[in-house]
Chain length 204, copies 2
């Protein structure tokens, strides 16, 4: 059964995307409640009623953003391959996730803000899609620890550590910059640090 997809004209597609881009910028900077439809409209170069012509409500824009970005967000974990070399697979995941934080910091902050406030718009997604995906990858990692190919670590906490360590640089960007002062891009140093960390931690 196919879900009814509304036909969209060229102009509709363009403007919907313009709005979503603007909304991402505003929501990620100020949060859901801190953002007004007027701000989104301004950032998108449209009038407020026009924005509401494309989306029925502010909440609809927000939800549209979240679901539209979910695949992007989960893709790096999906690629984790049971057949590959364990350490390289995990390091590859770390690398992909760190690059995602570097290249999509607004998306990172959007999800962070949502989860931080209890994920009121994604509870089902978290406990279904994310839960299942993680469960699948956890069993792969558990296989690796059981066979002694990597050190004995709790797979759940291993995954949490990858999320925490990589997203930190995007989510708490201002803090990182305030502490390190004006200097080179933190991501280069971060990658070196994380490679050292995970190689050491995972060595059998």
């Amino acid at each position: 059964m196919k879900i009814q997809q509304p036909r969209r004209s060229r102009i509709q597609n363009k403007n919907r995307n313009v709005i979503l881009d603007a909304a991402l910028q505003e929501f990620s900077a100020r949060g859901f409640s801190g953002t007004t439809i007027d701000q989104i409209a301004d950032a998108a170069g449209l009038s407020k009623p026009n924005v509401l012509y494309y989306f029925p409500s502010k909440e609809a824009i927000y939800r549209g953003l979240l679901v539209g970005l979910l695949d992007l967000w989960l893709a790096p974990l999906r690629e984790l391959d049971a057949e590959g070399d364990p350490v390289e697979q995990i390091l590859g995941y770390v690398r992909r996730k760190l690059l995602l934080s570097r290249d999509y910091p607004n998306e990172s902050r959007l999800f962070a803000s949502e989860v931080l406030h209890g994920a009121p718009h994604m509870t089902e997604v978290l406990s279904e899609d994310l839960h299942d995906l993680v469960a699948e990858k956890v069993s792969i990692i558990a296989g690796w620890t059981a066979s002694g190919r990597i050190a004995e670590v709790d797979p759940h906490h291993l995954i949490f550590s990858i999320w925490a360590l990589t997203q930190h640089y995007a989510d708490f960007d201002v803090q990182v910059r305030a502490v390190m002062g004006e200097g080179p891009d933190p991501y280069a140093g971060a990658m070196i640090f994380l490679e050292h960390l995970f190689r050491r931690m995972l060595a059998p």
Copy 2:
């Protein structure tokens, strides 16, 4: 030179604290913009005008919270002692920070939310107090790596990793619970995991 401290009656002290407690609960759950003075007043068991009798504005409550909690938040890092055993000192810091996340999750989320949205109310605190404190501890750790007492890791990223790994469990609590399902307290497993991680990473 002493800053003029207003004399506070017993009742003032009590109600100011009641308000700050209620505000912490509300702000940490819904963010600054998502929280109304009425919600704070209700949670505090006071009327809205009465809340505004003790604090001149919603923003004043928020700032009062942040500055009041700053010491609590930085205390674990302050205790890091150049004279102690390096690995034990760092592990001690990790432990204290993890317990702080477990016992003060609302405080953690309050700071996380503030930093996430660009720290509009704490920029100077970040780039002065926090920057200086971290700089001091970074030089201690740099001494340890230079003398070969711990592995060569970038001290800044080491501190970031401690922040990220410990605060993750408080800040993204719903996600952690959604992924792990109903089970035992995640903090026990987290402490075991983090001890393994940091011992391995830091071994000379």
